[in-house]
């Protein structure tokens, strides 16, 4: 029998509030990170170096939120000694925000490369393939955060499954950039920059996958890290 993850039914109202608060903070952090990624991509694909600067200089907000949420979680552990689903919630929040912070770092990278590419007058039309990968990553991040907010295992599994196309796209971009570099060595500098951006996007996808795995742990109590999606499904069906 699956147990309900009802946050608001503790005998201690204060505990309800603390859990709700820390969960909301994590969701807010997710929203901020999502905006950072979206802005980073926009700066890159529309050659807006101002926006790139804004993204690169806003990462401190994400970092500050991570520190704050970590502290709240520490206090909950110290004061409440949560068990079962409460413990899993606190654990998955602690882990989720670490991945969110790293996604923030990758967004910062996108902003920095947007500035460099725009300053070198590289037209976004020269790396249009990033747009497709970027859209996929944005979608994946949105779905992962949504699965986390709704504690939805099905959605989490679907998001994990979608990550395989992301990897294919990243490989295709890598191959294309290698070809470009071989054809015209003068392009190596900027091709490498574009490649770092693709790499950042692919890393964001990995972090989204992690977040989805924490959702499965939170809801089902099963640790599904480092197993294939098929093994995951089989384990959850047990």
């Amino acid at each position: 029998m699956d147990t309900d993850l009802n946050l608001t039914q503790h005998i201690s109202n204060r505990f309800n509030e603390e859990l709700e608060e820390v969960r909301n903070l994590a969701l807010n952090m997710g929203g901020l990170v999502e905006k950072q990624v979206s802005d980073g991509l926009k700066a890159l694909l529309k050659a807006k170096s101002k926006l790139g600067e804004k993204v690169a200089s806003s990462d401190y907000k994400v970092n500050a939120m991570e520190v704050d949420i970590d502290e709240q979680c520490t206090l909950i552990l110290a004061r409440r000694q949560p068990a079962a689903s409460d413990l899993r919630l606190v654990m998955s929040i602690i882990k989720t925000i670490t991945d969110l912070e790293r996604i923030g770092d990758e967004a910062e990278q996108l902003g920095m490369y947007a500035i460099k590419l725009a300053d070198d007058n590289i037209k976004p039309s020269q790396f249009v393939e990033l747009r497709h990968l970027g859209e996929h990553v944005k979608e994946m991040l949105h779905d992962a955060l949504d699965a986390f907010a709704r504690m939805d295992v099905e959605a989490a599994l679907q998001t994990i499954e979608a990550s395989s196309t992301l990897k294919e796209e990243y490989d295709a971009i890598s191959r294309q950039l290698i070809l470009q570099m071989m054809e015209d060595p003068r392009q190596i500098k900027n091709a490498l920059r574009v490649h770092w951006c693709a790499r950042s996007l692919e890393r964001i996808g990995d972090h989204c996958e992690n977040i989805c795995e924490y959702v499965v742990y939170l809801v089902k109590g099963r640790d599904v890290r480092h197993v294939s999606i098929d093994e995951m499904k089989a384990e959850l069906e047990e």
Partner: protein
């Protein structure tokens, strides 16, 4: 302890025990246990094995029957007129409720430590020596001395009292008195020790000492502990059994019960939710 709450809808929710109540080669096995106080039923069809050399924690809200059930193991309920126990209790192969079973000898094999430390108003030495004398476990003073010393050592109390074995047991601190009671229990070489909230009247330091002791005692004894402290159950036990309204709701590996319980009632109880 005798209060039984009527709640038909909850009884519906607990149709059968979730988890793994049975073990291979149990030290004690219980099957289909019902306990009544007059016509009020306090325990409903509980079947559970206690594994050898394990610490099993019985948890649940007040009035759930965990103490009643614990007291059945060494027939402490025999002394309550209105109490009637049915079902099967076996200590290895022996029937605990067999006609030929002497409760006094049974209680030497299945000892008990209570919530409030209850040393006899005698010396520390006599408290521990009482059982071995009664059961004729020592043939001379030297043997008795050895039993007393080794029991106090096993209970982690010897170093603190070795210079005043003739002082009164009631003059010790609460935590020391409780360890004296544990020493008294293990002096008669029991196989199983029942503990009914052994640390609930103690401060955190004395509690930590008792918990440490429980872990050491597991090498030689099987321990069944009733506790209201969930953290204590999580710390000291290998298996945990959750009781609710006289029914055994869920039994499982302690690590699993405290991170991923399978029954909603268990979840509600250990996370402090209404339910």
């Amino acid at each position: 302890m005798t209060q039984v709450i009527e709640a038909p809808d909850i009884h519906q929710a607990i149709k059968q025990t979730v988890g793994s109540p049975f073990t291979h080669k149990p030290k004690i096995s219980t099957r289909n246990v019902d306990v009544f106080y007059d016509d009020k039923q306090a325990i409903f069809d509980v079947s559970l094995d206690i594994g050898s050399h394990e610490v099993i924690a019985l948890i649940g809200p007040s009035g759930c029957g965990k103490s009643t059930y614990l007291r059945c193991f060494n027939r402490m309920n025999d002394t309550i007129q209105s109490c009637r126990v049915t079902g099967e209790f076996r200590l290895e192969e022996e029937d605990i409720y067999a006609r030929g079973m002497d409760p006094v000898l049974l209680r030497a094999r299945i000892g008990m430590v209570f919530q409030k430390p209850n040393p006899f108003p005698k010396s520390i030495y006599d408290n521990v020596a009482y059982g071995p004398k009664l059961h004729g476990l020592a043939s001379n003073r030297a043997e008795l001395d050895e039993i007393v010393v080794s029991s106090l050592q096993k209970a982690g109390l010897y170093e603190e009292v070795k210079d005043r074995l003739n002082a009164s047991g009631t003059g010790l601190s609460g935590g020391q008195q409780q360890r004296l009671c544990i020493a008294r229990t293990i002096a008669v070489s029991p196989e199983v020790i029942l503990m009914d909230e052994p640390a609930s009247a103690l401060d955190p330091i004395a509690t930590a000492t008792i918990e440490e002791l429980i872990d050491e005692l597991r090498q030689n004894y099987t321990i069944v502990i009733v506790t209201h402290s969930m953290q204590q159950a999580a710390r000291v036990s290998q298996r945990t059994a959750y009781f609710h309204l006289g029914k055994l709701v869920e039994v499982g590996d302690t690590n699993q019960i405290f991170t991923n319980p399978q029954h909603q009632l268990t979840e509600n109880y250990i996370t402090g939710r209404f339910g």
